[in-house]
Subunit: 341 residues, 2 copies
DNA sequence: TGTTAGCACTCACTTTGATAGAGTGCTAAT
DNA sequence: ATTAGCACTCTATCAAAGTGAGTGCTAACA
């Protein structure tokens, strides 16, 4: 059996209708809804075929049909109206915030309010970015503050506790030593060999050097478990199919334990290279707890190499067109704010 | 009408029973539950009195009684078994973490897992703490990094964008100037007069000084909208009286918008001076969205002046004794970890 | 005078059965 | 190939009836 033009149209009609109402849709509805001028009986025959092909399914006998994951997939890939007019985002006063985290929180929030879905955004990770500057300074008799600045002005601090006090002159020397050898290198390039070499040059202060290197390593490590901000988790209560205790609880805890969303970010960054916007339907998602949702993600890039992920999480019957449109809008805005200036 | 011994015992029995079951409790149950050896009829009479006094109420005629807020209040203040053996906290591997936020997250989580309630913890705020150290360093031709270290080793960074480049020598001078004048002062003591004075001494660099002062101000301001960590928000789904869409949504969004919990922290810090542990029942809570919950809070102090708030949020019928006990346990642990070392 | 047994009453909850309505699948006619 | 028509299925809704927990009141009792 093949998917001919007419079947596609019917499938499209079923999905459209279901997206709107959230109720199973029957043959009579379709018969009027489309411009095919077919009787409900004919539609029924076609729908039986579509069901056999796996694009739609019946919650129970004598109910209408709802789209299956496969059906949604086809819809998103082929049938969806690609360029729909998307209304302006309300309250979208995206300003170049002083602080990155302010901006991210704002984006997540505005997106959640405008879409009525739950949203997340990961802070850009700076893979491949270069070390700009290291500074040690004494803050106490046996405490040293190590400040590590990476390109993109990401700053990491670490307080080092010394066993023996260090005089100012030595600290100065160490500063020079570290900066001459390390700045300009990417975090990946700073490896064990280099550290050994530095330790040697530092002579008796090798302990300090190794501590500082640990601090740098720490800075890298921290970058790895990346910051994720979320908003609008409570929006899931707007969709009855997600708000029963079991499911809601699962989703909510994922939003609280934001680290569980890491795999989503990872996956998006990997796959997102060619397409830009990624749609995960139901079980396709890399985050187990969202198997009853759909997730739409996009990769954004603020400056060269500073990539992060935005995600919108909603019911499978989310308004994919609007969500994709809104995300594209958002990308444009981010671009115009960050690339122009 | 007065609350005699017997009425108290009956009230206590009602509450105990309701805490366990979550179901309205009837006279016959009490008649057997207590060692009063009274018939259900007598209990009924007493319960009618208790209802008239406002300590219990009936969800509907011919249902048993449930405690009112006033009833809970009395229970918590007077009837509660103050020293109950509280089981050890599982997984309570509280270690002195390198990073404050790690510790706080850990505390919140362990507490949530052990109590089956939602938890929050606010990062200690450092009111009255002294400025330890300020350091300016150039990271780029027209960018300066300002690092502000406050007692307790709280570090704040700020990147300052300069209009005109500064040479190294000037930066050095500014460093000395700032440190000699500001270090040792509390953040509150650094006021406008002082800034004006510094600006004058800085001569042509007054712009920089004022920028730096802004950075310091920023550091203070940031401290003000305090960090709050939460855990176990999904625990509320374990209590049917809270898991209907309406209420759950309200609570969840409060946990997501953590700033909404600030008033709770504030209130606890104010009231917590004398008592240590604070119990808010229903409408007593300073956070509107938790009017159907009870909240138990405690003030902790890691080092002198570093005070924060821990909160446990659950249904009104929470196990107050266990929660209070667990919190006290926790305080002891925090103490032993942070004060001894 | 406080306590209790007994009883009528109330109200939520559950079960049952009947009904309506939406939707299907199949068949025969077009 | 399409469609009208019909029997069938299943859910949702409603009312009626029964059940059980619990109450309030009264009269008897110690």
């Amino acid at each position: 059996m093949q998917l001919d033009e007419r079947k596609l149209k019917i499938l499209q009609a079923v999905i459209r209708n279901y997206l709107e109402t959230g109720e199973p849709v029957g043959s009579r509805t379709i018969s009027k809804y489309t411009d095919l001028n077919l009787s409900s009986a004919t539609i029924r025959n076609e729908m039986a075929d579509l069901e056999e092909l796996g694009y739609i399914l019946q919650p129970h006998t004598s109910a209408g049909r709802i789209p299956s994951d496969k059906g949604y997939r086809l819809y998103v890939d082929e049938l969806m109206q690609k360029e729909r007019e998307v209304e302006e985002m309300k309250g979208m006063l995206l300003e170049k915030e002083e602080k990155m985290d302010q901006l991210l929180k704002q984006v997540a929030k505005v997106l959640a309010v405008n879409t009525n879905y739950a949203t997340m955004i990961s802070a850009p990770s700076y893979q491949g970015n270069k070390l700009k500057f290291i500074q040690l300074s004494r803050v106490d008799v046996n405490q040293i503050l190590a400040v590590v600045v990476v390109e993109g002005n990401i700053i990491k601090n670490n307080i080092l506790n010394l066993e023996a006090p260090l005089d100012d002159e030595t600290i100065l020397k160490l500063n020079i030593l570290l900066n001459t050898h390390l700045s300009g290198l990417t975090l990946e390039e700073i490896n064990l060999g280099m550290i050994a070499q530095l330790k040697q040059q530092a002579g008796i202060h090798s302990k300090i050097v190794s501590d500082v290197m640990d601090a740098v390593a720490e800075a890298i490590r921290e970058e790895e478990d990346l910051q994720i901000y979320t908003s609008g988790a409570n929006n899931i209560f707007k969709y009855p199919e997600l708000s029963n205790g079991e499911k809601a609880s699962e989703i909510i805890s994922t939003f609280e334990e934001k680290q569980l969303l890491t795999s989503l970010v990872q996956d998006t960054l990997e796959k997102g290279q060619e397409k830009g916007i990624q749609v995960y339907i139901g079980a396709e998602t890399p985050v187990q707890s969202m198997k009853d949702c759909s997730v739409v993600t996009a990769t954004y890039e603020l400056e060269e190499g500073m990539k992060g992920t935005i995600g919108i999480i909603g019911p499978k019957r989310m308004d994919y067109e609007k969500v994709v449109g809104t995300l594209q809008n958002l990308m444009k805005q981010l671009d115009s704010i960050y690339k122009k200036t």
